[in-house]
């Protein structure tokens, strides 16, 4: 299954996503948790902590700034840029946290 959780800021998207991901993993499924928020906090709700969450963010930034090579396939992307969260969930950060271009404008 592929689930996306959306909604207004502060409504509980991150917490819901994290509980879903870990619950599915506990049932024996292989789960990848993708943090697509430009302010990525999913690591905190999954339980990997502040420092590891920020490490993933800085890896993502380094990619844009050309300091990290991109991985050639999705599995290598998860391996190089992801992190192990509790219950066997694999977490990766998709978005960079700053973007001076305001959307489609």
């Amino acid at each position: 299954m592929k689930l996306a959780v959306t909604g207004k800021g502060g409504s509980g998207k991150t917490t819901t996503s994290a509980v879903l991901a870990r619950t599915l993993a506990r049932r024996g499924h292989d789960v990848v948790a993708l943090d697509c928020d430009s302010n990525p906090n999913l690591g905190i709700s999954l339980g990997v902590g502040d420092d590891e969450t920020e490490r993933l963010v800085s890896m993502r930034q380094a990619l844009d700034e050309g300091e990290e090579e991109h991985a050639p396939g999705w599995d290598q992307v998860l391996q190089r840029f992801g992190s192990d969260a509790p219950d066997g969930v694999r977490l990766a950060v998709v978005s960079r946290i700053d973007n001076p271009e305001p959307g489609c404008l």
Binding site: K8, G9, G10, S11, T14, D37, S38, N39, N41, I44, S45, D50, T53, E54, V57, I97, D98, N99, P100, E101, P102, C104, L105
Partner: protein, 257 residues
Amino acid sequence: MRVAFVGKGGAGKSAISGTFARLLARRGHPVLAIDSDPLPGMAYSLGLDRDDAPLPDEAIEDRPDDEEGPRYRLRAGLSAAEAVERHAATAPDGVRFLQFGKIRTDPRALFRSQLAFRQIIKELPDDRWHLVGDLPGGTRQPFTGWGAYADTYLVVVEPMAKSLLSARRLARLASAAERPVQVLAVANKVSESGDAEMVARRSGLEVVASVPLEPAFAAAERAGRAPLDLVPESAAVGAVSLLVDRLDRQPLRGAAT
């Protein structure tokens, strides 16, 4: 003053910024409230009964082919200041209200409204209004794009892990901004004695206001009403009033001092 409220989604930016704008206006200042969030928010906390107040179609036109710039612009002859005078909504206490434009089914209509909004913000005279802005949640671009009009950023922070981490990121992005900006923290939904101190320590920012967690204030939000109308005597409104005291020492930018 030109302030913008930033912070994690749900931290309380809209409720605090709307209340702040009206309290500032009550002191006799001309205030323009600016809502840059494509999701609902500031209109309710100002006390308007509808969330959507886009610029009318007649204020906007297609840019001629021989002119450089975005596809739509303000109608020829309509200055940014006139556009506000004529077309910005009027909220209680005389606050004028300018809105980026809400997500709607016709993307073209939103695009027109948004480009005109951005032009107004860019060309607004320095000495006419105090600006109080409500920015979208998160870190994406408050110090560039949408928030570039502000010189003081107030980061609204809840004493919770995700909100604190977001504040720390905002502080970091501000220090990397190309222009000098002042960044201060507003601790919100504070319930324990060490909360404000924790916000200061973990965000690395100076805390200039501490707004208590209060069921009455939350009830106003739930009802889509302005806290200032529904619970004017609440401690949370009192804390925002102290914040206005604290910041109401700055003259209009560009005004003779």
